[in-house]
Symmetry: D2
């Protein structure tokens, strides 16, 4: 599944090089995955509050291709790459809407934590829901 | 009491105007008051964790005088202006160390919240400790 | 003139108190005024690039009423309060869309700077355009 | 060369999971490399201002091992891994000072840009200075 969402570059996100400060791409990638998960029918906020499940970031990788600038709209294309019981992998392409430039590419890996901040399994019903939308063939449910 | 602490301007704190983005002064003012409180002998982190007391921000006021720039050291002078049982008032002067320029002046008002996010009284021993260092004459302890 | 725009609270904007970190309200207020100015027909980005005019922040004041939380939509109501040749004043009300709670109220004062970072007059045509939308009666054009 | 510098976790850097928001590690890694470069005798601010050279971020990779928390001191160990005429590679280890926990590991790749935002060669004297401190054997100067 590929999901598209847009952000407009904020003044606070620029730096004195006149372009977007590089750490902000991670913030936009987070917006991308939250909106993808919402589109699937899962509200991440409720997962935290009601299930006590937290999607911690385990790894991030970003390649910066072309700088985004103040006031540009950037389209974040998010793909749900792989769904395992304890981990989740996303990939991202960020594109400036006006010029069509590819701004950045990235990937993130996540682990599910419980309220005690320990790695935990995602309940089966959420797993099933996510797997329907992963871009990889679903793995057989591990027993 | 006046307390002095220093921050060095980070690249991420600049914007495309080539100066520090204005919201970051609030972050530095927070560093100033946490360090002032630590200097008095109170660890704010422990107040949160052990007492369940949170110092919420109720009001902020900043006057921006002269822009701070990347890599400058900025001295944050923090004064504990007034200590009441439910509120706390700080004032700040921010100065560039190299040029001596006054960068900004500000003030913040705070309220104590408990874990349920309700306004609460600060326990007397902390009140007493803070009042010793307020720049105003201490008020008689309210009964 | 009152202008309304919405932001959705990002995870990065929360802090460990579980609510929005207070400095982020200034970022949203900036989004509000940029969108108000755009609605009037002025593109702030072009003012910077083509006219070499920068709208520096001279003063900010925020009263925090009720905390906004992750994933809430917040409506920023921005009013253009006063337009002078060298300064601009805005006022803001921030409201959580789901609960209707007033989240914060604020005001900002700005000065126009040129590329040399000196205070400058806004060209008359922009002044006229802004004054049409100020909530105060327009001042007679100063000679 | 390995360089060590420390940051104290700011309240603004935490999120509602109660730990440091993951994008902030990139900010600390930047502090690490600026301080490493300063220790070598190069002031990055002057490179920008006087030479018109900008060290753009081309790639970042972070593995998050153990969450850092509010008020902890974190030691950023930065290594200058490879110095080429147009690119620069750094590696990082971040450690919580109080517990000794490895917080994160990361790497960044950079390219030199000129004022027109085009990839450019670093002048030879800076190259020589940096190569003295790279952890890899210096390459023969390319002609």
């Amino acid at each position: 599944m590929k999901h598209h969402t847009r952000v407009r570059v904020r003044y606070s996100e620029t730096d004195q090089m006149g372009v977007v400060y590089h750490a902000n791409y991670l913030v936009w990638m987070e917006i991308g995955r939250v909106e993808l998960v919402r589109a699937i029918g899962i509200n991440y906020k409720e997962l935290e509050q009601e299930e006590g499940l937290f999607l911690a970031v385990a790894e991030t990788h970003v390649r910066y291709i072309f700088p985004a600038r103040y006031d540009q709209e950037v389209e974040v294309e998010t793909s749900l790459v792989e769904v395992a019981s304890r981990t989740l992998d996303f990939a991202y392409q960020l594109r400036a809407v006006d010029t069509g430039h590819l701004v950045a590419r990235g990937s993130t890996r996540h682990v599910w934590l419980n309220r005690q901040m320990r790695v935990t399994r995602l309940p089966q019903r959420y797993l099933d829901q996510l797997r329907l939308h992963s871009t990889k063939a679903p793995e057989p449910s591990s027993v």
